[in-house]
Symmetry: C2
Subunit: 394 residues, 2 copies
């Protein structure tokens, strides 16, 4: 079976037809022949969007509105969520399925999700997302991070659960603020990296610690990555410390990230210092973006639209020029693909036909208008059309 | 003619019907009788959204995509825009009409727009928006600010043009960074307030100056407001200086704003320090929000959706709780109404029937979901339905 996607403009360039065969891009041009056709109507063709940081197991999507009255501290939110999982019945399998369907409807073809692992709920979160991965393998590619949301060192048994999650097929070892939550930065970082090294996994650490405190954690992460030769396999999410006002210190961190091919994931947070995307990219650091938690007990925002995320990253980084908006688009496509170590991602002949078609004259316009995705392809097949996913959510 | 709007939930409260007669809210309850009905389908009823800071005369909406390659300095953007107005043919009447129609489709029933006044384009901008005000008076209420975008003191003739604009019916005297652009803070502020005093107009000053520099300008504004007894008639837009890290200094400014009933307008800017909305409101200061420039030569963002603006204000202020999102909604409704000195604004019997109906369970959900506006009423009549304005744009 082959399909001709007619009249699309790859990366907002010149119009062409695209031949899709065996789940791959088989060619570009006019007068291509195939078994079926789809009309791109002159819209922009992008590689599938990459959601590089979310929490599929904890969204409240499709559940009754949760009235947020949670206290101001981080620990208030963590404790509240652990409790609400039982009280509200936040089922990881059902909820992850709902968010997957919404993500695909918005053009994401790849998702990295953190999944809570703790001594109260054990591996239920992991089991749920693994089941959803199987069920939705035809419409999205995912990898997972075993995430010690409630802390690891202070809750005996957590490390063992994380180890179990890795054996079950989770791809990455997660970590959380080594000092401000874990109270023992050296031991936390060593434990995370030891797990990754033993099981041959990637690392993706939530680092919210601000300024010099976060920068110290970042140094430890860079040192361990270098010592274990884990170049290209480590990601730091949030990394607010890269928004430090000490320009020279930020420069030294960026150098360490570039040398060790450590990726940064940002949400483009409006209310906090955050990684300078253009500077990181100019230094050769991989930058990706994510929705983070979406409509959960932490907060009500988010719709899993990675074009909206590109807008938020753009607003946060004061991107106004078209060439700057191109960077925001790169972050929600190639940046995420690099971090997830995806093979055959892109718009070249032979690349996997994971694609999005969206109306717009330019890349910048696609980001600022965010038209409903006309077509989304996964494994060469149409999986969403006119903003709606063709596969149902529970 | 009377209309019964059935089954809506004012401010996301209990469901009721609403009688609308003679352009006003005539009553709430069941079993109301009227000439026609509209079905609210259980959606939320809000007073019309208030766009409190935009630039109707300079949007590129509906024009070919403008490739932004503008330089990084403020003066680059100002000079470029003045030139592009001629090169691209940015017609104030046509462009303001386009944005008005989009605003109304998103539920705005009131707009304050700044309008450029300078020695190159003279009063063309003002003439255009005044014509649009007449043409669209049936769907939106507007007031205008004569805005010296290119500077006032350094360009002889500008003050006279602003004076002319006020005589033509513009409601507010605008100002711009008194030190960083005008180079003479005392003279700039004195000139702005003298014009307002002489013609009995309001004041709305663009104040981008950061930190202590902006705080000094803010002090001058507070002093002049007090000296001239202009309580309730002065607005400071952007006011990044209120995001100063010197907590006590910010507190003194806020006290001055509250005492003199000076309003603050914010866009919820992601990339800059900005006014702390909750703190201002707790101190009794009126806070409103605006889109600012929308798809213009300054930048590509913006869609005139004041619910999206509420989201951005919420994200910027780290509003997560439902009671915090209520504040964000207040900012895009009652805050703007107060600043524009609107009479009869609200959801009480006797208030003007300028209303929005939008799907959602709670106020917070209305903001984070931003469903297409089901119905928008102006002067008691439906002016937009299912996200589309019933009056055409040029």
């Amino acid at each position: 079976m082959s399909l001709i996607l007619k009249n699309v403009r790859p990366m907002a360039g010149a119009a062409t037809d695209v031949k899709i065969e065996n789940g791959k891009i088989a060619g570009f041009g006019q007068n291509l022949t195939g078994d079926t056709t789809e009309d791109g109507k002159g819209a922009i063709l992008l590689p599938g969007l990459v959601e590089a940081h979310t929490h599929l197991d904890k969204t409240l999507l499709g559940m009754p509105w949760y009235k947020n009255e949670v206290g101001p501290r981080l620990i208030d939110k963590i404790d509240n969520e652990r409790e609400m999982k039982s009280v509200l019945g936040i089922d990881s399998r059902r909820q992850s399925a709902r968010q997957i369907v919404q993500s695909v409807s918005k053009g994401s073809t790849h998702i990295r999700s953190h999944v809570d692992v703790d001594t109260v709920h054990g591996l239920k979160g992991v089991e749920g997302v693994l089941a959803s991965r199987d069920e939705y393998a035809d419409i999205v590619t995912m990898d997972f991070v075993a995430f010690p949301q409630s802390g690891m060192l202070g809750r005996p048994g957590t490390v063992e659960l994380m180890e179990e999650a890795l054996k079950m097929g989770v791809e990455c070892v997660g970590g959380i603020d080594p000092s401000s939550i874990e109270r023992d930065p050296r031991l936390h970082i060593d434990t995370v990296f030891a797990l990754a090294d033993r099981y041959g996994k990637m690392v993706d650490i939530h680092l919210h610690e601000p300024a010099e405190l976060g920068a110290f954690s970042m140094e430890l992460i860079i040192e361990r990555t270098a010592a274990l030769g884990m170049k290209g396999k480590v990601t730091v999410s949030h990394a607010f410390c890269l928004g430090l006002s000490d320009d020279a210190y930020v420069g030294r961190m960026i150098e360490g990230l570039a040398e060790n091919d450590i990726a940064i994931v940002t949400t483009g947070p409006a209310g906090r210092p955050c990684p300078p995307v253009k500077r990181l990219r100019d230094a050769g650091v991989t930058v990706a973006a994510g929705t983070d938690g979406m409509r959960d007990t932490w907060g009500p925002y988010g719709n899993a639209d990675m074009l909206e995320r590109a807008m938020l990253v753009g607003l946060r980084n004061n991107f106004r020029r078209d060439d700057e908006l191109d960077i925001a688009m790169e972050v929600v496509t190639y940046g995420g693909a690099k971090l997830m170590m995806l093979d055959g991602y892109g718009l070249k002949v032979g690349d996997k036909a994971d694609l999005v078609v969206v109306a717009g004259e330019t890349i910048a316009e696609a980001i600022v208008n965010r038209a409903p995705r006309a077509l989304v392809f996964k494994h060469g097949k149409v999986v969403a059309r006119d903003g709606a996913c063709l596969k149902a959510a529970p």
